[in-house]
């Protein structure tokens, strides 16, 4: 374990990271704004195809995809900056499902020809993909799956029911985790495959859609199995990458809640003085700052050590647990600092509360993340 070991990384932003941050901040503040978020989240589609096109044209969908596959060839640190900025405005749409999760699954488990076949379209934003892992009974351990793939001539037949699939109804491609004779495989299933039924589910956080995906005798080619074999470890790594990237997004949301609360505490007067002059409010804001900075430290660390498997096995669940707890608490206290106004639909605070709560459950709640952390540090 990491006892006494100290993996030393630099946390300072590099030039390319600064550029990504500036560009993303400017674009999102002009193009999205929170009014737009509400419109998109209440729409039937749950995302804005025009916005998706613009995001793709700026190269965001291919940010972490290799240049040989039409991407920008950046790493997780740069993707983290982008997600942090997107998290500030609870940016709706399938970006996380496609450009983070499904992309990571294909990068981690796919062979060269599968990557060449799938990644260019994802990089260009021409195709939207997602990853389907979790099922009933609810749990986050990917080694316990009821969905199965059985060999059928040269191909596979997949049966099972996936739940909580991010952007499931928006996806052109679904990467399905299923048990097979060789272990756990990740199968690439086209969104229009016969026997595949995708039903959108109402969700706590409507800025991030989910669907139930049932697979009834869905036939796929031999080449649909990523890497041609067992993907137990790549799947775990993919979920770790999801956790680390989500942590970066949670930092952006936490920071925005902090800024909203501080601004309000400076301008809202009660008893003849700004409420931020009362220690009950001031200390709450200071605590928000502390938790945001802790979250930032763990998230920045996690995205920077992704290539070091041992360190990442500590860093990802650490970030998952700290950032989820932080964002949940901060989003909740943001409502408290604002008082009654923040309990109204018109106010933005609930967008963050819902994003925070749902995010903290996506890849394992803080307690599950601590279990993973405990295994990694031998406790």
């Amino acid at each position: 374990m990491g006892e006494g070991s100290t993996v030393s990384v630099s946390y300072a932003a590099t030039e390319d990271m600064e550029l990504i941050r500036t560009t993303a901040r400017q674009f999102l503040e002009e193009r999205i704004r929170l009014e737009t978020v509400r419109d998109i989240m209440m729409s039937d589609e749950g995302f804005d195809t025009g916005l998706w096109r613009e995001i793709a044209d700026m190269g965001w969908t291919g940010l972490a995809i290799g240049e040989e596959h039409g991407g920008a060839g950046y790493g997780l640190s740069q993707l983290g900056v982008l997600l942090e900025e997107m998290g500030r405005l609870v940016t709706p749409g399938p970006f996380f499902a496609s450009a983070v999760l499904a992309t990571a699954a294909i990068e981690m488990a796919g062979d060269d020809s599968q990557k060449a076949a799938l990644l260019p379209q994802l990089a260009a934003g021409e195709s939207i993909a997602t990853l389907a892992v979790f099922e009933e009974p609810r749990g986050w351990d990917p080694s316990v799956l009821a969905t199965t793939a059985s060999a059928d001539g040269a191909g596979w037949i997949i049966d099972g029911a996936k739940r909580f699939v991010l952007a499931g109804d928006q996806a052109d491609v679904i990467v399905v985790a299923a048990g097979f004779e060789g272990g756990i495989g990740m199968f690439v299933v086209p969104g229009d495959a016969s026997g595949l039924e995708v039903v959108e589910t109402p969700v706590l956080d409507p800025t991030r859609r989910q669907a139930d995906v049932s697979l009834n005798g869905v036939r796929v080619d031999e080449s649909a199995l990523l890497g041609g074999g067992d993907s137990t470890l790549p799947l775990r790594k993919t979920l770790g990458i999801g956790t680390a990237c989500l942590a970066a997004e949670q930092v952006g949301g936490s920071q925005m809640c902090l800024e909203m609360s501080v601004e309000y505490a400076k301008t809202r007067y009660q008893f003849g003085r700004p409420i931020g002059s009362f220690q009950a409010i001031k200390h709450r804001c200071a605590e928000m700052l502390i938790k945001t900075e802790h979250a930032r430290s763990t998230a920045y660390h996690a995205v920077r050590v992704v290539d070091d498997d041992d360190e990442f096995s500590i860093a990802a669940p650490l970030a998952g647990s700290i950032c989820s707890d932080a964002y949940n608490w901060i989003a909740g206290e943001t409502i408290q600092v604002h008082g009654g106004i923040a309990f109204t639909w018109e106010h933005d605070a609930h967008l963050y509360l819902k994003r925070a709560k749902a995010s903290s459950l996506l890849f394992g709640d803080p307690r599950y993340q601590r279990q993973l952390l405990g295994q990694a540090i031998d406790l």
Binding site: G2, E3, G4, S5, T6, S10, Y11, A12, V262, A265, K266, R273, P274, G276, S277, F278, Q279, I281, K282, H283, C285, A286, E287, L289, I290, E293, H294, A295, R296, S297, T298, Y300, H301, L318, S321, I322, R367, R370, Q371, L373, G374, I377, L379
Partner: protein, 394 residues
């Protein structure tokens, strides 16, 4: 530091080592020579233990001394002098004061203490009562200080006093250096909840201080005190320690020895480990930013984290021990401790209760974060413009 500076610094270190081999020279003699060559506080002016370089260059010098088998222990033996007093003298002292005090401070020949807090002035330090009245070219001092580390071993004390009770509290203070052996100074051990007396109470009864020991002008004591306190808070909680070390390592040891499989206790332990690691990474990030010249809010967070986590971890460690945690092996003894070893969990639990009070309470640190970092407005101050003598106290 330019390459030329760097070479010159190494040349000076080389000169020190040639004439005073670090591993075989008597430490006090070595520290004296180190001071004379300007290697004590390299950022001080030449002639006062420095070379006019930057603060970070000192790390290089210290590292070279340690690598050569020399000692930098003086920084701990005379922590308050070398860590804080020197900074005060450098910023506010006259040349003759610096000449008189800096060298024997650095060699540990003269130990220093710091006398700020009073029984009625804790967080509200500027409200302190200790009175200094002029008498010819001397000052006569009466009152009491408390929580004074090392007072019983000190030759000199840094002292803040009230010289003008008619002025608002921040404006009526004056800073002195007092001879701890002067008549009327009475140092008594202050036994804390562990039974140890790390600190003292110091009583002043008509103690006379020559005016030449006054630091900076009459009435500027608050400004001088702030220099001291800033150095103190930088010193606490600023170090980046190895992962999983310190108090959390003790908790992990107790957990492993207990053989417990309790999932709730395990989760709590991992939770604390995670929080310690988050604080550690935050401190590492703050240090990186600070050394790149971009000091961020992360630095002020370190002291709070250190206090909060120390208290939680040591309390949890006792819980892990179960009934064993109700024992206190060795019993309570009222003594002056010879070391600051708190490896016994019960004692660590007790000692850490002060962590959120000493060096600035956690509430004050939260005010600092709220007001200086986040820019939130201060509390209305009923005492800010009132003459100090009219401020309610109790």
């Amino acid at each position: 530091m330019t390459d030329t500076d760097s070479r010159q610094l190494d040349d000076v270190v080389g000169e020190l080592f040639d004439n005073h081999p670090p591993s075989s020279t008597d430490p006090e003699e070595f520290w004296g020579a180190q001071y004379d060559l300007g290697l004590a506080w390299v950022w001080h002016e030449k002639g006062f233990g420095g070379l006019g370089l930057s603060r970070v260059d000192q790390d290089h010098v210290n590292r070279r001394i340690e690598e050569a088998g020399g000692s930098t222990e003086n920084r701990y033996l005379n922590l308050l002098g070398i860590g804080m007093g020197a900074g005060v003298l450098a910023a506010h002292g006259t040349d003759s004061q610096k000449r008189r005090w800096l060298r024997p401070m650095f060699t540990t020949q003269e130990i220093w203490c710091q006398m700020f807090s009073e029984p009625d002035a804790g967080s509200d330090l500027a409200g302190l009562s200790m009175r200094a009245e002029p008498d010819g070219d001397e000052w006569v001092v009466n009152g009491q200080k408390v929580w004074t580390t090392l007072a019983h071993l000190s030759k000199w004390g840094m002292l803040v006093t009230r010289t003008d009770p008619e002025a608002p509290k921040h404006r009526g203070l004056t800073y002195f250096v007092v001879d701890m052996a002067a008549e009327g100074v009475d140092v008594r051990p202050l036994y804390q909840i562990t039974g140890d007396a790390e600190f003292n109470e110091v009583f002043f009864d008509d103690v006379r201080i020559p005016d030449e020991n006054r630091i900076d002008s009459v009435g500027s004591g608050w400004r001088v005190s702030l220099t001291t306190l800033m150095n103190e808070r930088v010193a606490i909680g600023a170090n980046t320690v190895p992962r999983g070390s310190g108090k959390i390592a003790d908790a992990v040891d107790v957990w492993k020895r207990s053989g417990s499989e309790d999932p709730l206790l395990r989760d709590r332990l991992i939770h604390l480990w995670a929080e310690v690691e988050a604080a550690r990474l935050t401190s590492a990030r703050a240090n990186e930013l600070a050394s790149a010249g971009v000091p961020g809010p992360e630095g002020s967070i370190g002291k709070l984290d250190w206090a909060t986590l120390n208290k939680e971890i040591t309390s949890f460690t006792i819980d892990l021990m179960g009934l064993e945690g109700t024992l206190y092996p060795g019993g309570y003894e009222l003594v002056r401790p010879t070391s600051f070893d708190s490896s016994m969990p019960q004692k660590a639990f007790l000692r850490t209760r002060a962590n959120s009070i000493e060096g600035g309470t956690s509430e004050i640190m939260m005010n600092i974060l709220g007001e200086r970092v986040l820019g939130l407005p201060g509390e209305p101050r009923v005492d800010k413009e009132l003459p100090w003598k009219d401020v309610p106290r109790g």
